[in-house]
Symmetry: C2
């Protein structure tokens, strides 16, 4: 990663990182990003799924989508992935904060046109959102593939910020206050798969959904400490 | 809410809404948004906490923060709040989707300068992130208040999208495939508050953190069905 004027961490730089392994860890722990782009001078921020493979992020959408069409110009984008890990309660309201992991990726996405490249990008997204569905559910048809825009975004201009741990005001004069301080941890939990009420009888839940860890960043209720 | 060229829902409009109560419901079910703005022609998307009070969103940050300084010009912003409720597994990869609730708010934020207005904005944020902390933790000092930028954003130009339920391809030819279809529901869970290891002895967890529903959008592990 190179540090640019856009990715230089100005606030609390001790929490920041430009290490590739930290970036990959934050990106791989989720599957929904917020895609930012500029349309007619206005920012637009839309949630969308993504997949990481190597040093690239892949995004997709309908060829009719406004954000994807704009991003296909090509237009500068900022892709932000955020995991909220807890609320930090300090002795003072001023020192309240959030524990989080956040990655920001800037760049000019490439619109993929080669069908094999598009399929590889879609597979990266599918594998990230629910591992095991690619090769199990019906593959995209030629027509479906043509109706899908797939964007590839390099990770060269990225930054990561991580905030964790308790509040840091115990040593301040505020540490003498009779105020409880600590953290409320937050976790994403995946419940048991719910079958489509219209599912035909006799179709069993496949093994990749019954066990393992199909959705990144999520735990099963039984995993909660 | 008025419908503008920016907020007109183009894709799957059946899922969209411009009703104020739907907008409030989505905004009130969370406390972290993604703030989008344009800096030197590039989009920038940063996660930050927010609070809603009446027909306004309030955001805050350090007066030194790059995004807040830019937003204070005033600059056009897009604030997006997204709740991911589940992963929808269809018979075809093409019909896979996410169940979510998303609100987007466009506007030119006002930078508050009156200390009473700033305090009211900060209270809206505090009340939203963890109800009960305002009036319990130490209030902002004059100096802290001066070091904090508080933005107010009207909700007039907003839109909401909600996607819920099972995949809708059971009636397609794909419905005949031997492929399981349904949803993996996702929930945000709050664990028991973790005391700061440096907390002075004898300080009890206050009632507003021990019971009730302090963090919007989160459930206790025991609430999981």
């Amino acid at each position: 990663m190179r540090v640019t004027d856009r990715t230089r961490l100005r606030r609390l730089p001790a929490e920041g990182s430009y290490r590739t392994e930290d970036l990959h860890a934050v990106l791989d722990a989720g599957f929904v990003c917020h895609l930012g782009l500029v349309i007619d001078g206005w920012p637009m921020v839309v949630p969308t799924t993504y997949g990481r493979a190597g040093d690239y992020l892949f995004l997709h959408g309908s060829v009719a989508s406004r954000s994807l069409r704009a991003a296909a110009t090509p237009t500068p984008v900022c892709v932000t992935v955020t995991h909220v890990d807890g609320v930090v309660l300090a002795r003072s309201l001023f020192n309240h904060s959030i524990n989080y992991r956040c990655a920001m990726v800037y760049g000019l996405p490439t619109v993929l046109s080669d069908p094999e490249e598009k399929l590889a990008g879609l597979r990266a997204i599918s594998d990230q959102v629910v591992a095991g569905q690619w090769g199990y559910a019906r593959a995209p048809s030629t027509k479906e593939l043509a109706a899908t825009t797939v964007l590839r975004l390099g990770l060269a201009e990225s930054s990561v910020k991580v905030s964790a741990g308790p509040p840091d005001d115990a040593g301040d004069p505020d540490g003498e206050l009779d105020v409880w301080a600590g953290e409320i941890p937050l976790r994403t939990v995946r419940l048991d798969p719910l079958a489509d009420p219209a599912l035909r009888a006799g179709i069993e839940l496949p093994a990749h959904l019954a066990g393992g860890d199909p959705v990144p960043g999520s735990m099963r209720p039984g995993d909660l400490a």
